[in-house]
Amino acid sequence: MAIPLTLITLVALPFLAALMIALLHDASRAVHSGIAGGASALGLGLLVMLAGPVIGGDVPSASWQWVPSLGLDLTLMVDPLGLLFGGLILGIGLLVVIFAHFYLYAGEATGRFFASLMLFQGAMLGIVIAGNVLLLLVFWELTSLSSFLLIGFWQHKAEARQGARMALAITGGGGLALIGGMVLLGLIAGSFDLATILERGDLVRASPLYPVMLGLILIGCFTKSAQFPFHFWLPHAMAAPTPVSAYLHSATMVKAGVFLLARLWPVLAGTEAFTVIVSSVGLVTMVFGAGVALFRHDLKSILAYSTISQLGLLVMLLGFSLEMAALAAVLHILNHAAFKAALFMSAGIVEHETGTRDIRRLGGLAKVMPITALIATLAAASMAGLPPLGGFISKELMLYQTPDLVLLGLPWLVPALATIGATLSVGYSLRLARHLFFGHPREAEPHARAHDPGFGMWAAPAVLTLLAVLLGLIPMLLAGPLVGAVTGAVIGGAAPEFDLALWHGVNLALILSLIAVAGGVLLLWQHARLLTLWERAGLPDAKQMYERTIGFADTWVRKAIVATHTPSLQRMLLASFAVIVALVIDGALVGGGVFTGTRLGLPASPPAIIAWVLLIAATAAVVNDSRNRFRVLIYISAIGLIVSLAFVRFSAPDLALTQISVEVVTILLLLLALNLLPKDPPLLSAAPRKWRDGALAIVGGVLIGGVAWAMLTRDPGASIAAYHLANAKPGGGGTNVVNVILVDFRAFDTLGEIIVLGIAGLGIFALLDTTAVGAAGARLRRWREDMPHSPERHPMMLLMASRIVLPLTLTVGIFLFLRGHNQPGGGFIAALVVAIAFLVQYLAAGFDWSDARRRFSEHRLIAWGVLTAMATGLGAVVFGANFLTSTFDYFTLPLIGEFELASAMLFDVGVFLTVFGAVMLALAQLSHIAQRAARAHAATLADEKDAP
């Protein structure tokens, strides 16, 4: 089987298995565990196939491009290190699957369990055989995520959820740091390909960014492998089902950090910083973990802290930056995987059988469950580092190395602490075994129904324990070549000469470990007294700290967010205006340039000045009088008058027409709305706020006014408008350049513009369509007119006048429309005039009377208007020209004489229809909604009456 295929299958298998299990989540447990076990076994087989050549020294690898621009390639490679870890992951994985199959209780979601387990296995496998650091990161974060699912498997348990969250937060967070570190590493090394990076160690260590990078990467590793002070998530991960714990904490999850340290050893190791930080952190963790483990009573908790301690040991060894230490680490990884998995499983068995994990309630189980006792005791012995077991050898090696490292200038420090650590681990290991299996039962209840489980359940731990034993008896035969090769891979060169054996003659290491054993026994003997001391000491619990930190952050961040983000329009606008003002000031200061330009001013005529005064006064009145709303509307229309007058004066007749007609429609709208709104409610703002806003407003006004002045006093440069002026008649067929721009040069704008108006009409309709029902309807029905009204609904003179005004106005509208292309006017203005004509009818004769005589549906008008405009645009396309290309021609008919037809006129028709429809829709909807609400209510009441 070709190497690339092998590798990709190797990684893909677990994921595929997970997928299959997820798809078959309703199938039986056997199916699930079958798939999972099968996948693990298959993977293991593949790995074994590769084992020979890999240990032989060649590195099978394959690479596919993924994101070249990023340097993220799908590179896979199996070197001895990867092989070792891969073996552990798959092998122990397989055993865990078997164990779990028997362990899980009936009715548990085995599908979800095994799927998550396989997901996790795949992620782990990916980490160890990834040949690209970015790819490694992908799998790294995947392990955090999948472990989240595994730890939280028992969703109903609070501690499971907390444990899962904590694990995710810590390891995921560390993962983020690692991302930073890895990207930096890649940037420094100039490549993200692992092999390349490993060759460029010197370059990396020389880089000024090395410390930052190192720090980030170490955070990643330490969080993952639960090093002090990031250790606390691990014990709480014990809320997971025991098989999960066995898997995560022996061979996989927590080992990932160690793996990464080993993986990057050639690049990172050797510097002062690396050695001191890593080894001291490891040392502290080892001692600390062991110490805590000694005083725990929960079986799994003891194992958890022992794991922390053992991981500390590994990290410390790797931190030594010594080849032999690395070798020791490799060996211990192997050992630890074996005995720790075995211990977890036995713990699981004990819990499964006795229903408790509290060792204070257990004891003397050896009689009732001898097999389990044998397995667990042997494993514990290995953990304690007693001969003739594997643990002993690796610990020997460790102790042998300790004198070579000097911390704080104290040569004895490291050996001493290491020995203490060892002593403690002997202590808790022995305590574990003894409390569980020897002496006599402390409580009857759990003891009563305890017995050895079936073969299926103890087979897995048995195998592991056997491994642990053999690692002690025949280490060289069993693991020698592998360890050698792996060490070579770790240190990135040839492994040093080494011999693994129980007996090296009497040397420092032996003495130290003897001390350790003796001390361990002593500890066990004095345990009760020590325990009281320990409990009196009452060390702070890191978990509570974490919880408190999170809680603190949550409350305060929430306070801050709520305080700043309660939706208040005034705040939003204040922020916006403040930003604007600041930016304008910035522009004025930074940009430089002159304020007043060179353009000659036009002297203002007296009426203009008076009009200006009028505008200022009216504005002031609006602001100052804004409480009396009706009055303000009068002022507003005065302002509108002046503005349109200004447009007339500055030769913009079209604008004047538009402004005037829009003005009146707006006023009608506001009056209609004001009828239902409060007429003169008390003002709300307090004085200080008024001053603040006033100041801001004045500054803003001065700034914008100043900008306008600066703009007006400059001479315009060459404008594209010259082209419009030149081509309006010949190219657009119209003499009113503004109109030609609107319907031809920039018809696309106009298309959007009428659509805006149409949508506004629709939106308003939709808003008011529902006023009759719900709270609004109820409020409307109860709505009492807040000012006494005249009983006369339709004043006679007005009504009579309106009847003659309508045709007159219509004529004017048509006139304005037809001449629009050549003289001021056009579809938009015409539409407004016509709309006003009809609105006068509504005003005079009332809604119902006029509406009954209406012959058009506003919705359809809008739709047809837009369609007409679009049709003119697409018509051009049909004739092969660009969208909205216009054409025009002059025709002569007998009697009528010459007249012009332009396609732009058709477009203008579209404008007319849409605008007219939108305006009518808006105002007609708004009129007399109170009555309509009452009517709708009556109708519903009638229906309800008819119903029964």
Binding site: S790, P791, E792, L798, A801, L808, A845
Partner: protein
């Protein structure tokens, strides 16, 4: 028409001056007269003769001085003649209405409050027009 230019200019100027003066007088009346009903008379001047004068002036100007045929100014007058009485009428109605309500800002003028036409009916502002009478527009 062939009118010698000087005469034409005289006509135009005269019309403009008359128009301007009446507009001013109207607004002056708006300011100085004692109460709303009196002030209401002011704008009617401005509307009729004031604007009329200026519009005629414009027609005459384009006609006689520049020789262009522009007549649509007259339309402005047409509209105003139709609409001005209505505006006045409605404002008066509002005045009566608010007078009856006793709004503080709405003071009765020297003419006092209008008495009801007869004992049994009141003005339409205060009493809905009777069915079938000309003022009854409810049917429409």
């Amino acid at each position: 028409m062939s009118v010698p230019l000087p005469l034409a200019e005289v006509i135009v100027s005269l019309l403009i001056v008359i128009g301007g003066s009446f507009a001013l007088i109207g607004s002056w009346g708006l300011v100085r007269l004692p109460s709303l009903m009196e002030r209401l008379h002011g704008p009617t001047k401005a509307t009729t003769l004031g604007l009329g004068g200026m519009l005629l002036g414009s027609v005459a100007y384009f006609q006689l001085v520049r020789g262009e045929w522009t007549t649509h100014e007259l339309l402005v007058s047409v509209f105003l003649f139709v609409t001005a009485p209505i505006s006045a009428n409605l404002i008066a109605k509002v005045h009566l209405h608010r007078l009856r309500l006793g709004e503080a800002s709405e003071a009765a003028g020297p003419a006092g409050r209008p008495a009801p036409p007869t004992a049994d009916t009141d003005w339409a502002t205060h009493e809905a027009p009777h069915l079938g009478t000309p003022g009854d527009m409810a049917g429409d």
